[in-house]
């Protein structure tokens, strides 16, 4: 091949530009820490990264939802636990009041304490989490029981469910139906807690000890069992949420790892490659420098 001076310069220039271009691409990987900086770097990887990021964002949100569900269930549990304590005290008083030998003043004292306890059960039925009523169905901003009244103003059928998504396509109901548990008092005669307790207080006051130790006590036990069932249900839901949360954590780990594998640069390798490419670039520079200033015949002709 006949070599001309123009070839020397253009070959040197091309060599330098290529070496620099390669080093630049690797430099970008090293400085961003990512292998895929543009969709064109790896179209498959870029599309996978987008899908994984969507999945990851969803998983993170659902994980937060699971935390929110846990908060609901914990608050429900502690409210119902308070209600159980109250009901236990009421049961003790009921057993005491079932005795035929109590004087009228004793009965009145017990009935007064019962009224107080029903009041605190009222408060427990009005428990809130972050300003949201736990037992008002989905009408979480409406106080379900106003003071001194057993009338229920929370959400009824169709407005009774508060649910959260705790996984892809998995939702869980976090609220406990207050209406089903506490009921609407004697006016409705629904046999729920408030109805039972108001009847009980009236029977104690009127000295109907037979009813107190008979149907009233039975109804009270049914009510207590209902509260315990509700606690058990909340606990079971909590278990579901915990399982979902650990599944979400696994998913998050997997997605994060996949995403990292997809778009992150292998730093050790990238830095090694970069250093090789920089050496290649320097070699190109040196060879260009020596090619460009190499001697010609001119230097030796006198």
């Amino acid at each position: 091949v006949r070599i001309t001076d123009g070839m020397l310069t253009s070959t040197s220039l091309t060599g330098m530009q290529r070496a620099q271009g390669r080093a630049f691409a690797t430099q970008e990987q090293v400085s961003t820490g990512r292998r895929v900086n543009h969709a064109a770097d790896d179209p498959d990887g870029a599309a996978r990264a987008l899908r994984l990021k969507a999945e990851l964002a969803g998983v993170q949100r659902q994980s937060q939802n699971a935390d929110a569900a846990t908060a609901w269930l914990n608050a429900t549990e502690s409210a119902l636990s308070g209600a159980t304590d109250t009901l236990q005290r009421i049961r003790e008083l009921t057993v005491q009041a079932g005795n035929d030998t109590l004087s009228a003043s004793n009965r009145a004292a017990i009935a007064d304490e019962l009224d107080q306890l029903v009041g605190s059960l009222h408060d427990q039925a009005n428990s809130t989490l972050d300003g949201r009523y736990l037992f008002a169905g989905a009408r979480t901003t409406t106080r379900p029981y106003t003071a001194g009244s057993d009338a229920y103003s929370g959400g009824r059928a169709g407005q009774d469910v508060v649910a959260l998504d705790i996984g892809p396509g998995v939702s869980v109901r976090v609220n406990t139906d207050g209406l089903a548990l506490f009921g609407e008092g004697t006016a409705a005669g629904d046999g729920k807690l408030f109805d039972t307790l108001r009847t009980l207080a009236a029977d104690v006051r009127s000295g109907n000890a037979g009813a107190v130790r008979g149907t009233d006590l039975e109804n009270l036990d049914t009510g207590i069992a209902a509260v315990i069932d509700a606690r058990a249900a909340a606990g079971a839901t909590q278990n579901r949420v915990d399982a979902a949360k650990s599944r979400l954590a696994d998913l998050q780990d997997t997605a994060t790892k996949l995403l990292s594998d997809t778009e992150d640069a292998d730093m050790a390798q990238a830095i090694m490659t970069l250093s090789n490419q920089q050496s290649a670039y320097q070699a190109a520079l040196q060879s260009a420098a020596s090619a460009l200033k190499q001697h010609t015949l001119m230097d030796f002709l006198s």
Partner: protein
């Protein structure tokens, strides 16, 4: 027949003149050594026509007496096949490089994968719905939904308008290059002028090497813009067909026609046309994604949340008060918010990921084509420079050769002179 006594002087003179011309050509080569598009030249020397000398020898035979050397032509050492190869490679390079550059800008416009692109906006949008589903009573959460939705709509609008601008840029560049006053027509006009000058020089028996170089340079430039086919008309002129234009750029009558109606001119212009339809395809896909998102969200909301069905027109149709969390009217119910949140990773998002995949694959292909084109052009250029280019070492060698030739001719002349001195000044002076 007698030979002139001064014949040798004339022969030496021819030698002197020929070596001098050859040195002139060497100087020209050296002076243009670093100019792109220059073709090295040489003075073609040939023996001057010999004198036929009847009875030159005692045997009575006819002799041929040489008369020295003449420069017959100044020749351009150009390999025209290498030109064809170079122009074919240059056309693919123009196509690949332009396409790679345009799609690189498209890639930048998408800006994926990143924490700021449309995909991130989609994620924030769905995050805000999830947050609203967890706090359906919160008007602040609704405000956030409207905020992220507006950002998302703006991200669609912005990406679409950027893509539109890139397509417009390509169209403008195409129009600039092919329009009146553009590179193509300017080159065509200069080609026509060169045609006339070259024809005149060729008819006068000359070899207009530097004009030919200039013409080849113009054709090289055109070959990057589009397909160039050159027909030699035999009188020094060429006609040029450019791209798939209806009329030749420079026709046989040396008239210039502005190229019109080209569909696939090849080269840079071809890429500028094809890139427009590629970008239009992306915009259609983006419109589909926007329409899918809008209709899915509107259906989940059971009321128009987004207005517009294209990426350019997508907008949020509601204020925070219009964001629906439930159809039941209960403040803590969230089924409509959850319905929107459940669209995460759905058709719109996969459609967008597919679009990014297609775009990235196109950009990567174009980039590889550009790099391959570059390598092919470099190789073709190297081959051409190998035959056309000036080698300074070679020129130095020639310079020494011609200098020595000149010196030798001069020595021959002075030898002749001494001989004549003997003949003229010393002959017939016996005894003086």
């Amino acid at each position: 027949m007698a030979i002139s006594t001064f014949h040798g002087l004339e022969t030496s003179l021819r030698g002197l003149l020929a070596q001098q011309r050859a040195l002139d050509v060497t100087s020209h080569n050296i002076a243009n050594a670093d100019r792109a598009g220059y073709t090295r030249q040489e003075a073609v020397m040939a023996a001057a026509p010999a004198l036929t000398v009847p009875g030159a020898f005692q045997s009575g035979g006819t002799g041929q007496l040489g008369q020295g050397v003449d420069v017959q032509a100044y020749r351009r050492l150009r390999d025209t096949f290498a030109d064809l190869q170079y122009r074919a490679a240059n056309m693919s390079y123009g196509d690949g490089a332009t396409r790679a550059n345009a799609l690189d800008q498209v890639d930048d416009a998408f800006g994926e994968p990143s924490d700021t692109g449309l995909n991130a906006a989609l994620n924030s949008f769905f995050d805000s719905w999830d947050a609203l589903a967890a706090n359906p009573e919160s008007s602040a959460a609704k405000q956030v939904v409207v905020g992220t939705a507006t950002s998302l709509a703006e991200a669609f609008n912005d990406l679409d308008s950027r893509l539109g601008a890139l397509a417009t840029n390509a169209a403008t560049e195409y129009a600039d290059l092919t329009g009146s006053g553009g590179d193509v027509i300017n080159a065509a006009n200069e080609l026509a002028q060169l045609n006339v000058a070259i024809r005149a020089a060729v008819q006068g028996g000359g070899s207009p090497n530097d004009l030919l170089d200039r013409r080849d340079e113009l054709l090289d430039g055109l070959s990057k813009l589009g397909q160039v086919s050159v027909t030699n008309l035999g009188n020094g002129m060429v006609s040029v067909q450019f791209g798939d234009a209806a009329n030749p750029l420079v026709d046989a009558a040396n008239a210039v026609h502005q190229p019109t109606g080209m569909r696939a001119p090849g080269g840079k212009l071809g890429a500028l046309l094809s890139v427009q339809s590629t970008i239009a395809g992306y915009r259609t896909s983006l419109d589909t994604v926007a329409a899918q998102l809008a209709s899915a969200v509107n259906a989940a909301q059971r009321s128009p949340f987004f207005s517009g069905t294209t990426a350019a027109t997508l907008a949020v149709a509601v204020t925070a008060a219009g964001v629906q969390t439930t159809a039941s009217g209960a403040s803590g119910a969230n089924e409509l918010a959850r319905a929107v949140a459940a669209l995460r990773g759905g058709a719109a998002q996969t459609g967008y990921a597919d679009l990014v995949h297609t775009m990235g694959a196109d950009a990567a292909t174009a980039d590889r084509a550009g790099q391959t084109g570059r390598a092919l052009v470099d190789a073709a250029d190297g081959r051409r420079q190998s035959s056309n280019g000036v080698s300074l070492d070679e020129e130095m060698t020639n310079m020494v050769r011609f200098q020595r030739g000149y010196q030798a001719s001069a020595r021959a002349m002075s030898t002749m002179d001494e001989m004549l001195d003997v003949l003229i000044n010393r002959t017939g002076k016996v005894g003086l």
